[in-house]
Each structure stands twice: as structure tokens, then as C-alpha cells.
Symmetry: C2
Subunit: 335 residues, 2 copies
DNA sequence: CTGAAAGCGCTTACAG
DNA sequence: CTGAAAGCGCTTACAG
């Protein structure tokens, strides 16, 4: 019969009245501050008991307003659909949780608009810090954080305006490429580089590493084919159709810049096994558990998400970080 | 020389002073309420301009406290490492965003402790509603929400204490199994069901569908082998080693209950192609873009994450939902 | 050892 | 058309 739908949740005032003490004391007790030369153990116990009985839960908005501290930690990623970003998200959540913070991960689907809207929203929520993973041009976001006096770190793609944590793209790409060359019979000047975006940090670094390896094997090599055909399977498929029109143009090995590009490559290979036989070795700068079971010869480079997140949290604790500090984390070769 | 590190962010009081109006008017203007028979357009413009100039950003904690409305929408999922949960997370974010809410997705790694801690934290943040996706026993979480008068919906696994959205597991499993049987030469009584957990909703439903199909094909079939060996590749590997010791025990087809179990199956197949040849057809109740490119004969059942999320948001808008209302969304067969 | 009071930044019913 | 005031729920320096 208590038709009152609006039964307010209990506050410290309710506890105070019920336990016969002041709201201030309730606050102290509930925050475990009572031992600090205040409040008798009996009263503390009474307050605790009353809080339990009433089912009290702190209002974090009120606490956050008072302390100007939200207990929220944010990270932006492009999406969750590959193991790299999924791994970053999960490690981030674990670390944030271990610091007593509530993690907020949001995917932006690479939309600039969504990116800046979320950054503003999260800053308005007074998040304690923000990580930007895989954001193509993080400078604007970094500056928004500086305005709000909120620390931020870039992951995977560095920015001038905040410290960054990246993978050793160039070295790892060279290693992956060398392995492609080493696989008997591969001619370094007939290798193909596939995927990524012109001017994008990781793509360009990896192309440097790719060329390090090819020009080491074939000093006067100028015949390498670089296809920055983006990240979607479809565009990869299209690019391959254009660049491998006949068996004479079949590459001796393919460096694939992302797992999505690998998807496109596989589609092409299924459709045209005559142009891209199973024997052609593939080196993928990304990792996926299924790729290991694919037919043919696939090796992978796996980025170390744990170390990257750890390094980012580490950076956060340092008192004065130079804005353009960059930490490089090595990736692992997966045969 | 403005060494003052503590340069407070501007508030509506700063704007009020600067624009020569009252804080109340500033609030009205900034919330677009001014047209509502109040405040002159000139003043509104002046306030807007001042806010821009000062770089004003609302403090959402204060607003949330005042309105007891956080603008936050939460979802719990076990992890991000497969396309199903990744897809749910992304659809959820998109829908929440389109409603002007800030999505908070957290992964719990199937830890009960993490689950309840997060639910409490999010309720303490006064999230507007909560989705529980893939939580094995959501009843406790649902009750916590009811206590806090916060709406919630279960996804993928239903619960008695809140409305739910699930896949047509039984029908879809029957369809997937029938297809396995149809693939020339498969004997229904030598099929194997692999993965999942005893007593878990989706697993048991799918087993029912699996048996629907096998007993239809072989009416007096009692020889089916059901292996609820969990979700990890390792445990799947172990189970297979035990149940397929010799070529005579090779199944005529395998129903795989999750993408992680498929991973384990592939490991086994790589290690022992004599016991599990490529020819044995596989039906996987989960979807992954790479699985389509695996060698052998793999079909998949893809859950419709968009429809599931849409249905869940739809449920939220209904005034009086019965607690145990369940919406069933069909999955799509991927040949 | 404990309480009264101020204040975090916002919104809205109310009075003018 | 506009402002003064109360209040959301909490914390903490201060006075006793």
C-alpha cells in the first residue's frame, strides 16, 4: 500500500537521524576516517550498522562535486573488433579498477566528431585522466585535455601535445619482412606491402622497416610495391585486384598492415588462387588467434598491450613529463 | 607569470558576473530554455558569447546532483574478445549516444566479484539504466538495480528478475545441426556437441536444438556425444583428446558452441589430422570473419547484435514491463 | 570526542 | 522579462 513511487534513497542525513548523530560524523565513519582521532568505536559501529540496515549507498555525484574528483578514468579507441584494441580496453579496465577508478572505454568508429564530443562529455564529467588509443591526430584532443587540466596519454599513435606510448613499429616491421624474405625462394624485390593509410604514423613507420629489410636483401631494390589501401577488407580486395592482374604480377610475399587488410587478402586469395597461391608467405602486423590456423604460411607480429597500458599508467604517475615524451614497447613475433 | 596552478574552471557565476546578469539566467540561457517566455534575445546572446569566451563547460556532477540524473548508460559484458560481445558493445554505444547519453561498457572477465562491484559503482554514479549481457546468473544484479530503482535489461542470457532479450538458440541450433547432417555422408548418431557450460541457458537451449535435429534424422538415436567442456581453447583441447582417442571415435560432424571452443578444436585438428580430418564438417554457433577462411567445411550461426540492442532499448521505453518478459531475436545462418 | 556551518556548481519554482 | 533563494548529497576545516 505504500504507493509512494518516489521513495528517496537514503542519505547520510537519514542515517544521522536514525543513529542519533550528526551527518558529519556519518560521513567520517563511512569513509573510514573515524580512527583519525575522532569518533568512538561504539558510535562508528552504530553508524555502520544503520547504514547497512538502510541499504545506504553513497551518491557519487555529490561526493564528486564536493571533492572535484569523479573516480572515473576514460579511454577512447576506434573500435573493439580486433584483438589489439580489445586487449587494450581490457588491460585498461583492469588497471583502472586496481586503482579504485571506474573505467570508461568508448569506441569512436574513427569519427572525428564522435571523438571530440566524447572527450568533451568525459571532461565535463571530470574524468581523472584520459587515454587516446589509435586516434589518428590526437593533438586537438590533447589540447582539450590541457584546457581542462586533465592529464592524458596517447597510445599506439603519438602526438606532439601529450606523452605517448607506441610499438617499435619500424624494427618489428623489419623483422617481419626479413622473415618473409628468409622463407626459401622469396625474392625481396617482389614483396608487397598492403594496407594502412598514407601519412599515418604506424603505417609510415612500418613501411620504413619494410624497406630497411628489402633494401638490405636487395641493395638496389626500387621495385617494391607499397599499397596503402586503408583498413577495410573491401578496399584491400579492390587494391589487390588492380595490382595483381596476372600470374606474372604475383608477389613473392605479402606484408599485411592490419588484421582487416588480412581479411581482404583472404577473400582475394579464395577468389583467385591462381593469382595468389597458398604458398605465398604472409606476414601480418597484427595478431588474431584464428589467423594462426589459416591455410598457407602466415606469421604475425603481436603488439604487447599489457606493457603498453602499464607504461601509460606509469607515465601518469611521473610528476613532470615532457609533452613529447615517447615510450616504445617492443612487439612479439608469432611464427 | 600567472603562477597560480589552481586556476579554477569557469562556472556560471563567472559568466554571470562577466555578463552582468544573474546565475539563474545564465543557466536558463545555456540550457536553451530562454525562449520559453523569459530572457531577451540580446541578453541570451551576451551570455552565450561570454560563455564561449571564458571557455565554459558545464560541471556534469553538479548538474547530475541537482537533477538526480547522470546522463550515463551502463552495460556489463564478459569481455571484448569475440565479435558477439564486441558487436553488442558497439551497438549499445551507438544507441546510447543517439539518446544523448554517455555509454559506459565494462568487461567483467566473468568474475562475480567484478560484476557486483561494477554494478554498485555504476548505481552509485546514478546511471540511468543498465544492460547485462552474457551474465550467467543476472538475478542478483537485477535485484540490486531494483533496489536502486534503476531499470535494467538482460541480454543473451535471461533472468527472472528483469526483462530479457535472447537469441532463438534452440531453433538456430537445430538449423545448424540439420545442415551438418545434410552435408553428404554425415551420420546423425556420430555427431559431437562441443563447448559451453552445464546448466547455462544458451548451452542447454542449443543442446535441445541439437537433439531436435539428430533425433529427427535418427529417431532412436541415443549415441550423441555432448561435451560441455567450457569456453577456453585449452579445456576444449583436453576434452577432445579424451573423447577422440582413435580413428573409430572420429565424429561425423561437430557442433561447436562458441568461437573459443572452435579455437581449441582447430588446435586439436592441427595436432591430430588423423583423428579429425579436414573433411569433418563443423557448425559453429558464433561468428568470426576469419572462421570463414579456415580450411575445411565450416558453417556459422551469427547472432543479430543490432536487433538485440534495439529490442533492449525498445523494452526500456515501455511503461510497465513484466519482469520475466523475454524477446527472442533470430540468428542468421552463415554458410 | 562531536556538531554546526559553509560550500562544491548547478537548476527551478517563486516572487516581483 | 529577471533575480534571490533553496536545495540536490556530500566533505572538511573549524569551533567547542
Amino acid at each position: 500500500m505504500h504507493a509512494k513511487a518516489e521513495k528517496r534513497r537514503p542519505t547520510i542525513y537519514d542515517i544521522a537521524r536514525d543513529a542519533g548523530v550528526s551527518p558529519a560524523s556519518v560521513s567520517l565513519v563511512l569513509n573510514g576516517q573515524w580512527a583519525r582521532q575522532r569518533i568512538s568505536p561504539e558510535m562508528a559501529e552504530r553508524v555502520e550498522e544503520t547504514a547497512r540496515r538502510l541499504g545506504y549507498r553513497v551518491n557519487r555525484q555529490a561526493r564528486g562535486l564536493r571533492l572535484s574528483r569523479s573516480g572515473l578514468a576514460g579511454m577512447l579507441i576506434p573500435h573493439y573488433r580486433n584483438r589489439f584494441f580489445a586487449g587494450l580496453a581490457e588491460c585498461f579496465e583492469e588497471q583502472a579498477r586496481s586503482l579504485g577508478l571506474c573505467p570508461i572505454v568508448v569506441s569512436t568508429q574513427r569519427s572525428e566528431d564522435t571523438q571530440s564530443r566524447f572527450v568533451r562529455t568525459l571532461l565535463d564529467q571530470r574524468v581523472e585522466f584520459l587515454f587516446f588509443a589509435g586516434m589518428n591526430d590526437p593533438a586537438r584532443l590533447n589540447l582539450a585535455c590541457r584546457d581542462a587540466e586533465t592529464p592524458c596519454i596517447n597510445l599506439d599513435i603519438p602526438g606532439r601535445e601529450a606523452p605517448s606510448v607506441v610499438t617499435n613499429n619500424r624494427d618489428a616491421a623489419r623483422q617481419l619482412t626479413s622473415n618473409l624474405i628468409r622463407q626459401g625462394g622469396v625474392q625481396a624485390d617482389r614483396l608487397l606491402f598492403l594496407g594502412g593509410i598514407e601519412g599515418e604514423f604506424a603505417t609510415e613507420e612500418r613501411i620504413l622497416g619494410f624497406r630497411d629489410a628489402t633494401s638490405e636483401a636487395v641493395p638496389d631494390n626500387h621495385a617494391d610495391r607499397i599499397l596503402r589501401c586503408g583498413y577495410s577488407p573491401e578496399s584491400t580486395m579492390t587494391a589487390l585486384t588492380r595490382v595483381i592482374p596476372s600470374p606474372e604480377t604475383t608477389p613473392s610475399g605479402v606484408f599485411v598492415n592490419s588484421i582487416t587488410a588480412l581479411e581482404g587478402l583472404l577473400q582475394f586469395r579464395s577468389a583467385r588462387p591462381d593469382l595468389l597461391p597458398l604458398a605465398v608467405p604472409i606476414g601480418c602486423f597484427d595478431w588474431d588467434p584464428f589467423a594462426a590456423h589459416l591455410p598457407g604460411n602466415v606469421t604475425m607480429m603481436r603488439q604487447d598491450v599489457d606493457q603498453m597500458i602499464l607504461a601509460a599508467f606509469q607515465l601518469l604517475t611521473e610528476a613532470h613529463i615532457e609533452r613529447n615524451r615517447v615510450i616504445v614497447v617492443p612487439a612479439a613475433f608469432v611464427p
